[in-house]
Amino acid sequence: MKKVILIFLFISRVYSENDSLKTYKSNEVIVSASRTEIMMKNSPSFITIINSESIDKVNGIKLSDKIQNQPGLIFKDYGYGGLKTLSMRGMSGEHTLVMINGERINSDQNGACDLNNLLIDEVERIEIVRGGGSAYFGSNAIGGIINIIPKQNFEKQKYKLGYSIGSYNYKKYTAGISGDLFNLNYNVSFLKEKSNNEYKFRFSDRGTIFEGNRKNADFDINQVSLSLNRSIEKFQLSFYGNYFNADRGIPNTITSGDSKARQKDNDLILMLQSKYKQNNFSLSLVPSFRYLTYDYANPNLTDGLSFVHGNANTYRYGLSFDLNYLIDDNISIVSGSEFFRTSIDCINYSNLKKRNQFSGFIGFDINQEFVVPIKIYPVIRYDYYNDFGGKVSPKIGLNFDIINSNLFLKMNYSENFRVPTFNDLYWNPGGNPDLKPEESRTFDIGFSIYDFEINSFMDFNIDVNYYNVFTKNRIFWVPFAGSLWKPKNVKNVESKGLESFINLNLFDKMFDLNFSYTYTNAVNSTKGDINEGKLIPFIPEHNVSSGLIFNYDPLTLGFSFRFLSSTYSEESNNRLSKIDYYHLADAFIQLKLKIYNISSNLRLEINNLYNSEYVVIPYYPTPLRDFKFSFTINY
């Protein structure tokens, strides 16, 4: 057996020589920090880039799996296969802007994005930007931004096939083909994931042990995506289309019996990007279309005649225009405008509801030398919504190159907002058309050390950041009259915290070690409120995550660990609503082999390695240890 592995090692070393070329983290490109391509080191924000190489070095396939170990990200998790939203910097799920290629995908109905409904396939990189970004991207960018950048240039004539099996009848199939046809670079990929998902769970709730197999959490998800790309000299035209379809059970709390509720989702995204690039300016025009639908039926709630039923169709047409102009070496303009028209036809609205939105922004990237090189990013944006008027969002970001492109000081001030959702405005009954947008101001300051080489075998990266986010006019549904609830702009929240991250590379990335600690203090700061001074529910104060990746071609081993301190499920921080702290670990082992033109990939994933018993949302149990085994070939 040992011999076999050694042979594999040898084969692979021969074929992977090019992989060992040194890549500098600081030179990685990011677009979500300032809406134009800049290098990570020049950004004023605390960012994380998960590139196509590191995406494989994490368990799972859903977006939530791929980013769950990143510094300071907190998930509201209703159990595997259920809803999972992301909160950053003590905010809520609807304060994280999630985008694909710069195109927002947060629900217009509830403002949040279900990260368990996003499968990561053929992705160039995932960008995580912490802090406010309304000045570049508009509503919802209060806690931070996640931007998924799909792959655009594919290798010539390549076929991909993959198959995975796992615990609880888990099966995943992937297939893809890419190549060039009449100078058109194309890729089509298909993905199917299904499981009865009757995972084992066990947790203790103050004296009562709950254990068993999760019921009605099954899922069957299909995703097809198509990318086309053609460049003619300075002109580039690319198309991206993604269709997602899911049929799944919606489980209940464990105390309220087995659910029979089911939901069907369909999501179609189409984008056509045309770019023109000259020496000193670039133009981009992106028309887009999104069609999103869900259909929910709960036969548990039968009145003997019909089911309880939920249904909505969202149509959104968009047009974004970006113009970047380089005035001279020290100053360039970043500007653009967006138009969106959204209409939602929902069973719970009295008729078809529409929203038109127009935005324009202008910003500058300024290079200055004052003792040290300084980059200044001022920007201002105006958003107009036909249902409640205009909103101005300014931001200024600063980046000081203090020591030779190794140590940077970064700071930002921004004002951000979140618009009321369609449900807030139009839900029948309760919807409140008089709502105002939530407003926020954010300040952060920190430093980053990039690619600091101790010796030729060892280098490290460090980020340390302090932030303060104040949000007012937070929208909450409050009792109104009779048994009726109505959303109102009633609360203020102040969140401050510390984010720290260290990454250590040993022996040319043979060992890649990450450690992060974040402290979050998110408090209800509404004057006179009965819960003034209390912690915001479900936001842990302490969050530790760490990971170790060992890579010696063709073998990769990964181990990740995270710890989250206890939280409260109630705004009053009632002692009986305390949710215990938890920690859990995941691991994988992967073997990449390449013989002639066929490369194959064998992989074993273990989730919840040491069978941690925990819940994130009370009575929505999470899985105990499970396994996934996958085999992929590329030809």
Partner: protein, 346 residues
């Protein structure tokens, strides 16, 4: 190497994870008479609890069930009834009825089968009748602690509150999508629906009024954005000897709860407790006790109004105690959403 790393990481986790122990809870004296406040708790949060108030000493005990049993009560406690020294607590979203000894508050038993979103209970002819809101039925139990399931009686919609009058069971069963307007009458000797009476949209609450019955219909919003298509609350009187609807009184708004004492009904309306003169079929005082309240009940011995204020619905609520003349006697803190009362005072 890897093992060591794991150890270090786990160690760090425990350093951050040191838990403060829960503060000690003072025990509740046994065998005292008092008032149980049934706190619903929030949907799917499993934070239902009982508050116990002793009027003689003016003492209040919170989290009574957890204190006595070291366990949580469940999700959405709807009602509590006392029968032969046993408290029957209907825990709606946990699909169970929890039985406690009302002397000690200790758990005796739990009924978990043949229930589908239970709402309320009546006891008659040595049988226990439980409405199943999502089962469109009433489950009948008998035997020791009423644990033996006997049968299901079907009714339309979402069966909710029941009362017994003239040896018949009256049950309201509203629907939310297409408004139902009916009240079903069940004969407990045959367990058959013997009559269906028509009242008005959304009959959600029913109480005894002397030997007769009063039904509160809360009306409909219809299209929320259009205030012109609303229908408003009305109170209906049913004669229990003829089993017919005899009167109706316009109340207005969309009230939450009501209680009856002698010839007056006390309705928790949109802006105040409304005092209704049932004899003369008119509103006696539309602003009897100003405020928006979630629940109301009359304590039968001293004739006091217990009024539940759910406040923000996510924090501790409050109970206000009033005399029938409208003067506040006292108030005390309760749990999350004080939704009903159970009097253990006689």
């Amino acid at each position: 190497m890897k093992k060591q790393l794991l150890f270090i990481l786990v160690l760090i986790a425990f350093l951050f994870g040191c838990r403060k122990e829960d503060e000690p809870i003072s025990s509740i004296p046994e065998g005292l008479k008092g008032v149980y406040v049934v706190n619903e708790g929030n949907f799917n949060k499993g934070n239902a609890e009982l508050t116990f108030y002793i009027p003689d000493s003016n003492k209040v005990y919170q989290d009574v069930f957890y204190t006595a049993n070291g366990k949580k009560l469940g999700d959405i406690a709807q009602n509590m009834y006392i029968k032969d020294g046993v408290g029957y607590i209907v825990v709606n979203n946990s699909n169970k009825i929890v039985l406690i000894d009302v002397k000690t508050n200790k758990l005796i038993d739990t009924i978990t089968t043949n229930l589908n979103s239970p709402r309320s209970i009546v006891f008659v002819n040595n049988k226990m009748y439980v409405t199943n809101m999502y089962g469109s039925s009433i489950s009948v139990f008998s035997g020791t602690n009423y644990k033996t399931f006997q049968k299901n009686i079907s009714v339309k919609g979402y069966p909710d509150e029941m009362v017994i009058a003239n040896n018949k069971i009256y049950v309201v069963h509203p629907t939310f999508d297409s408004p139902s307007t009916s009240v079903s009458v069940i004969d407990p000797s045959t367990d058959q629906v013997v009559k269906i009476l028509q009242v008005y949209s959304n009959p959600t609450m029913i109480k005894n009024y002397g030997s007769n019955i009063a039904v509160l219909c809360t009306g409909e919003y219809n299209d929320w954005m259009n205030p012109n298509d609303d229908t408003f609350a009305k109170l209906y009187i049913i004669n229990s000897s003829s089993i017919t609807v005899t009167d109706s009184i316009f109340i207005g708004g969309h009230p939450m709860d009501f209680a009856i004492e002698s010839d007056y009904a006390y309705v928790t309306g949109d802006a105040a407790v409304i005092k209704v003169d049932l004899k003369n079929k008119k509103i006696d005082n539309a602003n009897f006790i100003p405020g928006y309240f979630y629940s109301i009940a009359v304590e039968p011995i001293n004739k006091l109004l217990y009024i539940g204020d759910a406040k923000t619905f996510s924090t501790q609520g409050e109970v206000l105690v009033y005399t029938l003349s409208g003067t506040q006697k006292t108030k005390f803190t309760a749990g999350i959403i004080p939704g009903s009362f159970c009097f253990n005072i006689n």
